[in-house]
């Protein structure tokens, strides 16, 4: 009995995710990504400043449609993302284990937590307005109400560790309310982010709602922090002592800046959800 050779597996090329497509970096650059054990996992695209600007353009283009979609529709799509994640749970567990290290069971638990978190945020889409909005009892013959609206294009520097749970925890609360996002994936652990992009691309999420950049955080974050068409930036993935220059850049167009200090395993609360909202107040006279 002759042994047939073991089947050679088909490896994946990890690319960027911009405007619903998976392009390589326009710069043609890539960089090696190593697992927690030091083994080479793959080459990831090393996104450039131009890629970051392209991603902002895609996010801005998607904003009108996504923010104008009904909350019910956004909730359906985000729930669909959780369904797609569940179907790929084994793949994500393997990628998370390779990226973050640790026991397989730990990686599986983290993937399960990420899926559950996505479901949790999906349900907020048609509830946040009732929690954050108000009918205001003004002293005059006016009907006056306040509603939360999405801030706009949000740049996110994803946490450097917690390659999937941390990533989901920062992306889902941004887009569920109608914002669009440009995400800088963990520099050293970018592969689960690209696999998440594949899930997003097959969940009816409109192109450009989430854009994922891989590469050097130090190169990409300042471009987004200083970009005049980005409305808010989440610096969770930046070490506290390195945030100052990015905050200074963000002041250039009065960006909303969030600096998270989250414990990813803990229940997330509503703080991230509320951080990327604008309260709009509408007045109208009441009379006959």
């Amino acid at each position: 009995m002759s042994e047939s050779p073991a089947r050679l597996n088909v490896r994946k090329t990890y690319k960027l995710f911009i405007g619903g497509a998976f392009p390589r970096s326009e710069s043609g650059r890539s960089y090696p990504v190593h697992g927690n054990d030091g083994a080479l996992l793959a080459y990831a695209a090393q996104g450039s400043r131009k890629d970051a600007r392209d991603a902002v353009v895609a996010a801005r283009k998607a904003f009108g449609g996504w923010s104008g979609a009904t909350a019910y529709n956004r909730g359906q799509i985000l729930y669909r993302v959780a369904e797609m994640l569940e179907g790929r749970a084994a793949q994500f567990a393997a990628e998370v284990a390779a990226a973050d290290g640790g026991q397989a069971a730990q990686a599986e638990a983290e993937v399960a937590a990420a899926i559950d978190r996505w479901v949790w945020y999906a349900g907020w889409s048609d509830k946040v307005a009732q929690v954050a909005g108000a009918a205001n009892p003004v002293a005059g013959p006016y009907f006056n109400f306040s509603v939360p609206e999405p801030t706009g294009v949000v740049a996110i520097v994803a946490p450097a560790d917690a390659s999937l749970l941390g990533l989901v925890s920062v992306v889902a609360p941004v887009i569920v309310t109608g914002n669009t996002a440009v995400v800088v994936a963990s520099e050293s652990r970018p592969l689960p982010a690209i696999s998440l992009a594949e899930v997003l691309a097959t969940s009816d999420l409109p192109a450009g709602v989430v854009n994922v950049l891989t590469g050097r955080t130090a190169e990409l974050a300042p471009v987004l922090a200083g970009h005049m068409d980005v409305n808010a930036i989440d610096l969770t993935g930046i070490e506290p002592q390195e945030r100052k220059p990015l905050q200074e850049l963000a002041a250039g167009n009065v960006k909303r800046v969030t600096c998270g200090n989250d414990h990813w395993a803990a229940p997330p609360g509503t703080q991230r959800l509320m951080s990327f909202l604008e309260i709009k107040t509408v007045w109208h006279p009441a009379g006959t």
Binding site: V138, S146, R256, E278
Partner: protein, 515 residues
Amino acid sequence: MSGGKARSSPASGQGGAHADRSAAQREATSELAAQSGESIWEYAPAPESRDVVSIQPEYGLFVAGTFAPAADGRTFATVNPATEEPLAQVAAAGPADVDAAVTAARTAYEQVWKPMPGSERAKYLYRIARQLQERAREFAVLESLDNGKPIKESRDVDIPLAAAHFFYYAGWADKLEYAGFGPDPGPLGVAGQVIPWNFPLLMAAWKLAPALAAGNTCVLKPAETTPLTALLLAEVCQQAGLPPGVVNVLTGAGDTGAALVSHPGVNKVAFTGSTEVGKEIARAVAGTDKKLTLELGGKAANIVFDDAPVEQAVEGIVNGIFFNQGHVCCAGSRLLVQESVADIVVERLQRRLATLRLGDPLDKNTDIGAINSRQQLDKITELTRVGEAEGAQRWSPPCQLPEKGYWFPPTVFTGVSQSHRIAREEIFGPVLSVLTFRTPDEAVAKANNTPYGLSAGIWTDKGSRILWLAQKLRAGVVWANTYNRFDPASPFGGYQESGYGREGGRHGLAAYLNV
């Protein structure tokens, strides 16, 4: 335009004789009057008495419950912008004074205000609210003297709203756990608050009331040109028995504000003012743990559709841009009028402007008061010059300006395009830029074509269009068939470069809580 002249009014003098005239006659007469530069509505002077206010020759800083000169003894003059008469010498706080005030606020926070039950804090705020109501006339006159705004605005808007703000937030002080920010929301610590000159007392109330209700202590820096009502408010705090150091007032110029916001002992920075300074402050607090809220400039679109009642819309346009001489961050400084009614709206607007009375801020009939400072007058003059140079058509009603003081006539630019500087930059004066549109989509696109996003106005009879537009406009406050309404229960604040955070309502608490 009476120009503040002392002349008896045929209309008001004859006890309603004008009611006999037909509307057509009235219109014909007022048109004639507009052309000749004389208004049919001449009013006898009706000045509010200054006697209700006693202005001291010199004012110190209010730190730790007492008034004292600046450490280095520096002072500056605050003047009446309607007459250029100096009102008082005011202490100019330096870095040592900032340090002393922050230290006093910290001590009061740790030892008194933070441990105090919310129900007790509430009672102090109620006391302040009540005393503002009791001394309302005194505050109104002082505000008009120092700021130049018409007494009818300071009397009917600024002061009552300031009192209402304290009243509203007083009630939150012992209910914070029910405000929707979790079971145990806490204060931030010492708040450094820098406010502008356009609504001096009202802005002080917007800053102090929610901060104190939430359990913070405050160092307030009023604007250089309008320090007097904040100092009178400090006296009210004293008389209300507010513990020393809970509220401190530092008068001074931009350097005082800069020293305050960058002081390491400050936990929270709140600023209302220009977008330019707001950006500087955001840079100054970068890299710190200070919580920051900003209420900055605006270039609001006031959108008038062809089905809007024209007379109502004209009143709204006037209120939108000429309220408080246009010194309003949410002023409706861009009129977007549907092309089919543009001519009639502009014509009616011009006719209405010819009836506005510009002059003595203390006169109860005055509609338009003085520009707050020489510096602001220069800025308005410069931008209107640019408007003409860029090709827009300038119009003002016949209008005699008083000889002394800082004055600018109500001004309307027509033929304005979106690229003109008068359509893009905040003028912060009584200057309206008129643009036109054809479709609702075009109105939205033009209204949103600005880096600001503070406010917007809509004038139409169609309910579904109001709601559609209200959703599409990227602005924090949308007034539909009204304009420039404010209330302590109503959140106020902007999108984009108009700042972040909200003031007023439940939402206004978030700026001062550790949530």
